[in-house]
Point group: C2
């Protein structure tokens, strides 16, 4: 049965947003094997209608709450929303599961919303590939907005920015996040900032610090200048402003040809990842894995360097291809 | 001049721990080009004498302070210490630079200590490869202990554990780190735990929580059981216990053949990384880069999937190799 799973009826059910088929399809693309590329090839002509929003920020900034509120607002506009919660699973940041639980109770029963968590720790093939693939599935299934949410640790926030049309960086007033974010180059990925929990002390200072740093950024009249939105997501304050800013950024992208440029850039990265994955698969066949294992003791004894062994393996690969 | 840089006299100066040559050598291996493999091939027979210690934990756990104290103690034993501070450069965790500044003033003037920071954000080729290569250079230069320190975000702590003979996970009493660490699988990488700042409230509870969770781990009389050490690194308390525990773990590794097993495993991962790096380099020559760029619009228009383009590129690569 498994060989035949991806047939016309499966694709049809996916396009019609049958929930079990959508879930199954994401599992297939997450598995990253030959059936994954089979499925994505099959549906690719249908990809491209969804608008992709990336949300990142430090732990506790209220990203999940904001995603919830945005989702409810989009649902009121009768738009379907797919949510991909990327958990880079740092051992020292948690919260993803909690966020999911909250969401499940509030919006999880709505068939116009699809929520998927992706853990990425130690995964082969980058996060951006998996998030992109899952977003493609939701795109094909007819979701209008795809929100990709991740805590900014490691480099998951860079991957998310690569995969999104509009990237939102969420900060909180305290803890010097603003300045920290600037230093770390988040200015480069943020299409706009949200200062959440803006009723907290220090909010005015955080806003003006952000504004000052942003104003130092070089720009001309035609380039996009990231705005700063104040919000209190858990009181539903500022959510309309955020949606308006997403729309303003989308309009800018479409009118300036940046929309196509960004999507071409994303496509390029994806193709590279697919090619490299496939080559790795061809490379590490049983025979080469075995010959690698059998040479390890020579390296440990210092008779050969890893670089010598690597050259032998590459020569062998060249001859086989 | 540049072509001739890595000659016999250069290697000799590296082996004699000439500081400028050591620094230059690490820069060469960080650059990850052909001269990097030339250098590592040249010196590889001299690698293998240093003992490699990995230190990881959440931001603010006192990893840098602990590294400082361990270094001073090793120096009193007349051992040379190389320190590789790996900064995964999360935008929301800082501190690495500060840690370096503290170290520079206390131990930075000592010629028996070599300190190097490595930023890894967005780097090609994994962190573990770079950290391993830099550790090899320090090994060749005669450093007895190499301490690799990283904040546990993303998956830098997994990479460090791969590269180390003994891995220490540093926690603090508050914030539920202990339970969090257990959940996130840090139990698998920790050869022992240090509960630092153990004069703080909650220390007893944190210790007993850790002990309870560890006691549930399956083990037999011959397997290694991670211990828990209490310390107050900035008052130099517990540092002798840490050194004793490192020695106990080293003795265990040597007596159980695990030492060789671990180093073989590490070598295997390194060879794989070297092979894949080299193939990536061969793959993305100018001609294939250009042909990739020229097909992007077809994907955007939905005429071809990234998977189709990827297959064409692989076929082309096969024919060229």
């Amino acid at each position: 049965m498994k060989e035949k799973e991806i047939n016309n009826s499966f694709i049809e059910r996916l396009i019609k947003n049958d929930r079990r088929t959508v879930a199954r399809s994401i599992s297939i693309v997450e598995s990253n094997n030959s059936r994954s590329s089979e499925l994505l090839k099959e549906v690719y002509a249908k990809v491209g209608n969804a608008y992709r929003i990336g949300i990142t920020g430090p732990p506790g900034a209220g990203k999940s709450t904001m995603t919830n509120q945005l989702t409810k607002l989009f649902r009121n506009q009768n738009k379907k929303v797919g949510i991909i919660a990327v958990d880079p699973t740092s051992p020292f940041t948690g919260g993803a599961l909690l966020g999911d639980r909250i969401r499940m109770s509030e919006i999880g029963q709505d068939t116009g919303v699809f929520i998927r968590s992706m853990a990425t720790r130690g995964s082969l093939g980058g996060l951006s590939k998996k998030a992109n693939d899952a977003a493609d599935i939701l795109d094909v299934a007819g979701y209008d907005y795809i929100i990709m949410e991740t805590v900014g640790v490691g480099q998951s926030e860079l991957d998310i920015a690569e995969a999104a049309d509009t990237t939102i960086v969420v900060l909180v007033p305290e803890s010097g996040d603003a300045v920290q974010a600037m230093k770390a180059g988040l200015m480069e990925i943020a299409d706009f900032f949200v200062v959440n929990k803006s009723d907290r002390p220090g909010s005015e200072q955080a806003l003006s610090a952000l504004k000052t740093i942003l104003s130092m950024k070089e720009h001309n009249v035609n380039s996009w200048m990231p705005n700063i939105i104040s919000a209190i997501a858990n009181e539903n304050k500022g959510i309309l402003d955020i949606v308006a800013e997403i729309q303003r950024h989308k309009d800018y992208l479409l009118s300036s040809n940046k929309f196509i440029e960004q999507r071409e850039h994303r496509t390029k990265i994806r193709i590279k990842e697919i090619v490299e994955d496939k080559l790795r698969y061809l490379l590490w066949n049983e025979s080469r894995k075995n010959s690698l294992n059998s040479t390890l003791d020579k390296v440990i004894l210092g008779n050969l360097s890893p670089y010598h062994i690597a050259e032998e393996i590459i020569d062998n690969f060249k001859n086989q291809l």
